[in-house]
């Protein structure tokens, strides 16, 4: 389906009409893309979906270790149809989210540490964490796909004021860190995501596209040369700033090259979305639909998905909760507030489950996309009331290419670093790393057995 200005305009009118439009995504895709058709052995994908402010652990952890018995706990209920595809990992800990002499700011810290495995520096400006595990993977296998990694989110970044007790907003706005000092901002707007994946020039003909690529290349060459000349006269910090700029240019050049070699246009299978829908579920669906297409067409294998910002005070009127999420999690044990937190946790899970079901519905070889994925759903805090960093809620979804046996809960020893899980996942992505963050080794028990 070709996206034309005409269809956009129609959508504009619909949007003006203020109605939430449910796009018949998979219907529109049929029959072109109801099955993935990547040649060769199916790739393994890795994704991290992050929810903020901890979870209500009473309704998260299944009672028994080992295979699930009976009903899943309340928050996991929406995953019922996928119960054989999920593994609950207990007792994993993020030590670097703890204060460790840096005082308050657990929200800022736990998100900055979540995928990096290092303690973020407490600062407004001089930000520093570590390279995140998804980026280690993207650096190694990213060249195989058009986008080394995709960063997605649903909540606009907070703009003014201090984000958490002295921690820069960079720590709560981002999950992925390309380097110690460079977080990768998530894309929030479905339209921007669409244009990033499928290009603004989805309507250009091959000749025009070739010319565009050529022009872009020469422009990038031109500015690279200019920048290098400029750098000679600068002090160290200024030089570092321009290095950042140059490394971004190199990344774009690489993408251009990739796109050139890869002439097949990916069919988005959906009309171009317009702006951010007011409805949370709709926004969630649009973004995850696009990730699904990206997985399906092997445009990227690594995704981080910041569902909402750590420490967010977003209310959930969609489900009748007018209070902010963060204040609610400081429930002090009050039942009424606890219940609301649980409902928010469930609401997130309902959306997530729909996405997982979608991934499972797409055949790939004799498996499906979910079977060839490892998707971690979790939070950087377990108890949002007390800001605890041990026994984090961690759910691993997907078969990791027929290598993970789901349908059970595995409890590790106390204080086992969550970095051990990441290291194990990197192994499964064929990314060999000796060490990551505060890992003390790999974790056992994930393998089919």
């Amino acid at each position: 389906m070709m996206i034309t200005r005409k269809t956009l305009s129609r959508r504009t009118m619909l949007r003006g009409a203020g109605t939430a439009i449910a796009l018949p995504f998979f219907d529109a895709m049929a029959p072109a893309l109801n099955a993935s058709s990547i040649p060769g052995k199916a790739p393994i994908r890795m994704a991290f979906a992050y929810v903020p402010n901890g979870l209500d652990m009473r309704h998260w952890t299944p009672k028994e270790d080992g295979a699930f018995v009976g009903d899943l706990p309340k928050i996991l209920k929406p995953m019922e149809s996928l119960r054989q595809d999920i593994t609950i990992l207990s007792n994993l800990t993020q030590n670097n989210g703890r204060a460790l002499l840096d005082g308050a700011g657990d929200h800022g810290r736990c998100c900055g540490a979540y995928l990096t495995g290092v303690q973020p520096r407490k600062s407004f400006v001089d930000i520093k964490a570590g390279i995140s595990c998804d980026q280690i993977v993207a650096n190694q296998i990213g060249k195989l796909t058009r986008f080394p990694s995709l960063e997605v989110g649903l909540e606009d970044a907070r703009q003014a004021g201090d984000c958490d007790s002295g921690y820069s907003c960079a720590y709560t706005n981002n999950l992925a860190w390309r380097s110690e000092t460079q977080p990768l901002p998530p894309v929030l707007d479905p339209r921007a995501m669409f244009e990033r994946l499928f290009g603004k020039g989805a309507a250009l003909n091959p000749e025009e596209r070739a010319r565009q690529t050529k022009y872009r290349r020469s422009i990038l060459d031109f500015v690279t040369g200019d920048t290098k000349k400029l750098q000679g006269d600068l002090g160290p910090t200024d030089r570092r700033k321009l290095d950042e700029y140059l490394s971004s240019i190199r990344e774009i050049e690489r993408q251009l090259e990739k796109a050139e070699n890869d002439n097949a246009q990916v069919n988005p299978g959906m009309p171009k979305p317009y702006g951010v829908p007011a409805d949370f579920a709709e926004h969630f669906r649009l973004m995850t639909d696009m990730i699904t297409v990206a997985f399906q067409a092997d445009m990227s294998r690594v995704v981080t998905f910041l569902v909402t910002r750590e420490g967010t005070s977003r209310p959930y009127r969609e489900i009748g909760i007018p209070d902010g999420h963060h204040p609610l999690t400081h429930h002090q044990g009050k039942q009424e507030l606890l219940d609301k937190v649980t409902r928010i946790n469930e609401y997130h899970m309902v959306q997530f489950a729909k996405w997982m079901e979608k991934l499972k519905s797409i055949k790939e070889g004799d498996s499906n996309i979910l079977g060839n994925s490892m998707i971690v759903y979790g939070a950087g805090l377990s108890d949002g009331n007390r800001h605890t960093h041990e026994n984090l809620p961690v759910m691993l979804v997907g078969g990791g290419g027929n290598s993970i046996k789901g349908g059970r809960r595995i409890t590790y020893r106390k204080e086992t670093p969550i970095s051990n899980l990441y290291l194990t996942m990197m192994d499964k992505m064929d990314v060999k790393t000796e060490h990551f963050g505060d890992a003390t080794g790999r974790i056992d028990g994930l393998n089919l057995a």
Binding site: G16, S168, A170, L230, L234, D323, H330
Partner: protein, 770 residues
Amino acid sequence: MPIVSPRSVAKAVLPLCAALLFAQGPVKPTFDHSVQPLLTKSCLSCHNDRLQSGSVNLTPFVNPATVLGNREDWEKVVQKVRSGEMPPKGLPRPSMDQITAFTAFIESEWERADKNVKPDPGRVTARRLNRIEYTNTIRDLLAVDFRAEKDFPTDDSGYGFDNIGDVLTISPILMQKYLEAAETISSRALGADPLPAKPVEFEYHTKTKTVRRLDRSNIEATHRVDWDGEYEVTIGLPGERAKDALPVEMGFWMDGKLLYKQMVETKPSGLVYFNPYSEEHFRVFVPEGDHVFRVGFIGDEFAKTLTDREVFSDRKTKFLNMIKFIGPFPAKVERASRKRVLVCDPNTGAACVTKILTTLTRRAYRRPVTRADIAPLEGFVAMARKEGQTVEQGIQLAIQAVLVSPHFLFRIEKHPAPNDPLRVAKVSDLELASRLAYFLWSSMPDDELLALAEAGKMRAPGVLDAQVKRLLADSRGGALADNFAGQWLEIRNLDSVKPDPQKFPEWRPELRDAMRAETRLFFENVLRENRSMTEFINGRYTFLNEMLAKHYGIEGVTGPDFRRVELTTDQRGGILSHASILTVSSYPTRTSPVIRGKYVLQNMLGAPPPAPPPDVPALDESTAASSGSLRQQMEKHRTNAVCASCHNRMDTLGFGLENYDGTGKWRAKDGKFEIDVSGTMPNGKSFQTPAEMRALLLDQMPEFTRCVTEKMLTYSLGRGLERFDRRTVDGIGKKLAANGYPFQLLINEIVQSLPFQMRRGEAPKQVAQR
């Protein structure tokens, strides 16, 4: 006489004796005399080795060497003693003389030490344009209306502002956006994109609930425009008014800016209609982007005479119900952006192409350009020609390159010895012009500034002051209200707050916009009229439209337009009674004295409370329950000594604002509970009403001035303040106090200050590891 050790008595008394003996006038204050007694008696009883109250142990500070050696710790001590926060309520308070002698001695020591330190202007990291600066610069450079804030990822902020060089990073995504934006903008600037063959129609109608009714005479719709171009606008006007009704003026606004107006006949047409109806048509040029369009009758006296039942009756009156756009059509007049770029006809030959590129690049790079700058751009024109494209398309390509060049995207300042941290140098006139323009306009310097800088006249006597005056008077001076005040006062957070519609049914986007406008207009008034900064605390006027006036319960303000309103009651005054500020400092369902208290301390008094101790969630006020008023509940909570030391200070200020609800509406009761706003300031003075609290805050003008100065200096420099900047801040504070706090003086002083005028190098360093 307090119990002190004999030795210290001797020390305290001896100099006195000496002074008497030799009659040498006043005693030279010493540590032992001015500081130690107070420290020992008033501080050490709790902050000692054993008790360490609040994790503070001052025993090691009974040592004169610490005054300079541990200056940051001492600053906290002095601040707490001076503000009266310490010693806490209930403990004996030292006499005012003692306190003055205490603080005076310590500060004189610092002053003495500072005199020997070489002034340090600091160093600003190369700044890339943030989203707002990018938008404005494109507007001023090419006359293209491009909204970077809708397209680019959010800029991270530091020190409360989003223009801090150190945190403005570039990611591949942003780079991609720059590249795409350059393509879009250059194409729009030259009008190169073909318009669709057939115009498209968009209709917004009350029937389909796609227009909002703002009031009896105004409707509004949000519309995305996909192409720069002219559009035929049709306004639907049902109904008719009485025979003797006068014609009324109809206006058409885009994003609050009036684009078009005309008179509209309202009396019966004489034709027989079942449903009387008429339309008005006009054509306007509209730039690409998401816009809010409003159409309404200006000064519509007739509508005010109607009863609520009559206002939308087509038998009784004429009103508005529809906005329709048909377009785009090619513009009849040449677009401004083309005129801006094509200073001559490029088809006349290479000389003109060079001229076009030189003119544009000088402005884009904000400096004179050299042959080396232009030659590669001419190469792009040639490249496009080789591809079989026109010269104009070649120029478009060159513009694309300019717009992703580091010279355009970054504000880079050169230094004669970039690696020498001791070498201090003036920033060049050109760099100064950019600093000034981005400070006051969040945009590039205009031709006048650039010409002055090129001629090396920026620092000629009187020039800077005159330029500041000129820049502030320009409409672009509003950037300071949007970007500085918007972040200083956290007004930008209005976009993300979501008051609960159940508890605050009056909350609407229009109300939010009105709140924002009030604070913005107030700030601009103090700025442009050069009013005293005391008006921020206790100004006796504000700016309202009908919606906000109703929200405040103020009579006699009608229509959607804002106007200055003198405040006649004590309910409101100064910015702390602005609904915008009261809303951003509340929870979605209720007020939060803690957040509001913290807000005042942080943004008005420059004394942000320390973060709560580790592992402790911020003291949560819990939902107001039936067991007592919020205040009673919180006071019970505060019996915990650990919490009380900070919360006493915060909550007093916060409770002082409890008469304003979560959206800033005045209230006498919170639910069924009486509101008790009374409180006692740390310095012992007490108040009964918000107005009295404001009056007491006026006592703290030095703190307030210091706070605003620090924030504005941070904003103007794009870096966090360092210890060495305190001399600049102190100096400005004194000057403001001596002159009655005129706001423009602050700006002039900043522009003339050492850190704004100079920079130093930086030692090549390993980034310090923590």
